[in-house]
Symmetry: C2
Amino acid sequence: MTTSITREQIVHAADDLFYRRGFEHTSFTDIARAVEISKGNIYYHFKTMAEVLRAVIEARLQSKRDMLRRWEAEEPTARGRIERYIDIVTVNGPDIERYGCPVGTLTTELAKLAHPCRDEAVEILTLFRTWLRDQFVRLGQADDADELAMRVLSASQGIATLSNAYQDRAFVQREVADLRAWLRTLETVAHE
Amino acid sequence: MTTSITREQIVHAADDLFYRRGFEHTSFTDIARAVEISKGNIYYHFKTMAEVLRAVIEARLQSKRDMLRRWEAEEPTARGRIERYIDIVTVNGPDIERYGCPVGTLTTELAKLAHPCRDEAVEILTLFRTWLRDQFVRLGQADDADELAMRVLSASQGIATLSNAYQDRAFVQREVADLRAWLRTLETVAHE
DNA sequence: GACAGTCTAGGACGTCCGTCCTAGACTTCG
DNA sequence: CGAAGTCTAGGACGGACGTCCTAGACTGTC
């Protein structure tokens, strides 16, 4: 794996533009301008736009894996870790209000385009899904772990979509609080 | 308001294409081919692509208003009406699996594009929001009506997003059942 | 200093886009 | 019949796109 600085800058700029403006609305020229290099330079590192996208997805996967590992180091309890995930919508609130969830919006866009990289984009969602599932197992919910993980994913996606539509912080706060309360309810039941 | 047949066909085809392929991925040529007319013909009815989009949003608003009115005629109870909304994700299951929620995906896409019509697209969501709010008021939940409406909207958007990502019918069924159960809980509380 | 390998700039290419123009066909009605 | 208004086809236009090519600058090694 090459670790050219230019290559990394391209991926970083593309990542940002795909998120803020959407994959389809981002051109080679846009990326070149963001990195302040020539279009031909990008072509040296990536033969096609799909290759750039693949590299961006790979980078996102890696960054999310690192984040989850960090959370596991910082949060001793499974509940604390799940709460970390739930809190994303408030921690990244301003970005989500403007551009939506980076994971959800990309997979939705690629689905409509029937893009070859669609499944790779879904992998990012699956990364969170399996991680959340593990946490629920540790919470003593082995039987329903995947169902509960999907519930959390689903709730987050819904909150992100409406946050993006209405920019209503009170709504996000309320939903996050309710999700946390629901999580505590689960734990109580498990201890019985 | 003109009611030209050609105009209506253009709006209908554009509506379909915007949903299935996305607004940005749909060109004048695509629409012309779908209706089997010339590109210049479209221009006679709509001066710009934004005008087509505006007409599509207007048509969707009208069609949703009609749908809600139909529901009110068919369902005598507020709970039945809300359940009708919740059931959308199963009734339109196949489409949502492939293309996502028509309302959510459009508003998200227009938000990224910072498109002038973004607010008009959000209006469709608001139509459901206020309608749901009214139903919750009738359910005896006047104090929390808007919060509950947002909860239902949020849940639906989340389910639609994950249904689109994983094409998992069992997940959708389960979430719908849980939402219905939650709704009954609300009613019981209200009657106490 | 010569050379090979790596990286970069700049622009050519064919294609498709949104928009706009023009010429003509069709309808309506005096 | 003929004139006015409505609708349609087809293509011109300037620009932006993804892709690709070429020439040269840079770096390290002998």
